[in-house]
Amino acid sequence: MATDRPLSLFRNMAAKIAAIPMILTAMVVFVGGTFWTITYSFTNSKLLPRANFVGFDQYERLWNSSRWLVSIENLMIYGICSLILSFVIGFLLAALLDQKIRYEDAFRTILLYPFALSFIVTGLVWQWILNPDFGIQFIVRSMGWESFAFDPLYNPKIVIFGVLIAGLWQGTGLIMVLMLAGLRGIDQEIWKASRVDGIPAWKTYVFIVIPMMRPVFITTLVIVASGIVRLYDLIVAQTGGGPGLASEVPAKYVYDYMFQGQNLGQGFAASTMMLLAVAVVIIPWAMLEFGGKKRG
């Protein structure tokens, strides 16, 4: 009988059943795994996770490690540059491809193909191209410009930008495709309207289209940002963290200590700090996004 309010548990039953894999993943893997990580970050686990608690020892060591501090600084620089440039380049490319051009398939595939290649080789190829002894610097010098210097991977001050060049080359194609999907979701009437009103194309993009693409931008932001936080393979392949410690990043610290250094506790402490930083950003965002406000 439909006269009484049904138990709220059984409302939208199909939706809830469909969401079970998600709920399990969220609660068991992500929440469970995070708490597991945090717990073991207070132990002196080495090769195997063992519940031998040592308080804040791992954290003390972490924050006394110059490598960890360098890693954080590098991630900041890389993160900010990568975020801004990915968005700008990705959006511009998508806007160009959205001009109803011919050969769109070919152009799109060319811009996207680096994404298909593994980081190991992306790093290797860019390591070559940026190598002063046989890469770009060598070519330019052999053309007569003897004083030309371009060796980002071997200069500790700018090595992180050398990684950025490869990172952008590999990743902007995906951003472009995401943005393109977003643009394709925009009502074509918008363009007609703005043309009738005589609004220049760039203004239409900046003031009308981009605000309409907010959901796509959030998706892209999470993809780019999570990629930045987890940046690991590219560094390993391109610089190995060098010269010296100049291009170390936190995820590499985590990996190296967990598996290379056989010190799980230290790796867990480092990843707990990373997750804490992420939580500090995400929780306020979620409260802002979901707090009270609803569509309806």
Binding site: A18, A19, Q99, L117, W169, T219, R295
Partner: protein
Amino acid sequence: MGNKASAIDMPDVVLEPRTLVEGPSGPKPKKRLSRRNIMIYGTLIVICLYYLLPLYVMVVTSLKGMPEIRLGNIFAPPVEITFEPWVKAWAQACTGLNCEGLSRGFWNSVRITIPSVLASIVIASVNGYALANWRFKGADLFFTILIFGAFIPYQVMLYPIVILLREIGLYGTLWGLVIVHTIFGMPILTLLFRNYFTSLPEELFKAARVDGARFWGIYFRIMVPMSLPIFVVAMILQVTGIWNDFLFGVVYTKPEFYPMTVQLNNIVNSVQGVKEYNVNMAATLLTGLVPLIIYFVSGKLFVRGIAAGAVKG
């Protein structure tokens, strides 16, 4: 899109706006040579050259013999073209004792990639749909946790997931690996689908409910057909991620299921001994072929998406 049939409709009049924007009117300029097009194509071609440069280096290197590579000029075209590195990468390169090159793991990669891509996309799109349109209690919380999960470094989760899979008895099996890929693809994909479905007009969803469609009916009949571009993006993400995955492939399965990347890693990543750069490059290009083909083929769906996406009502 032809609107010409309708008497009330006006867009045909509106469709001449280029002249409005660009100034002087008059006979329509030849489209292909307009200044605007030269700029667009010029820019695109220059950008494409930058994107293609590393590919050029890789292809050229893969066609050289080792003595030529030692000469050092990575940009020089091969003096003597040899396909030996390609043959070696595909069929002869050794992984320990097995000298069958990449071919050994190819079908394993296919066997892993297809179910993993399908499972992760189906589950994530249903998640996104449930979150965007059905908004049950607690949905926002789970969604926030998922986004948080996107930032967890994979490596940290290795051992907990080993234990998890052991407990449900799927450790070391193909299905265990499919689950792992589904779990780690879930945050980004769910976000992708949720945000896309949110941007679709909600009234369509309501109309379908009034029309008697239920959860699955709306999903399959209304949402999925309208979302081709985002399914393509999801497929690109997953095919690439899973095809190129190395760590999960070796940690969660046994040698009989090892994907192609294990061989790629063994070819490219051997620390000691002489590096055969030409074979490395050939192996990389061979491994990348499958995602590349998928990108190119799925592009058709992308263009078709225009028609679906354009209709807001």
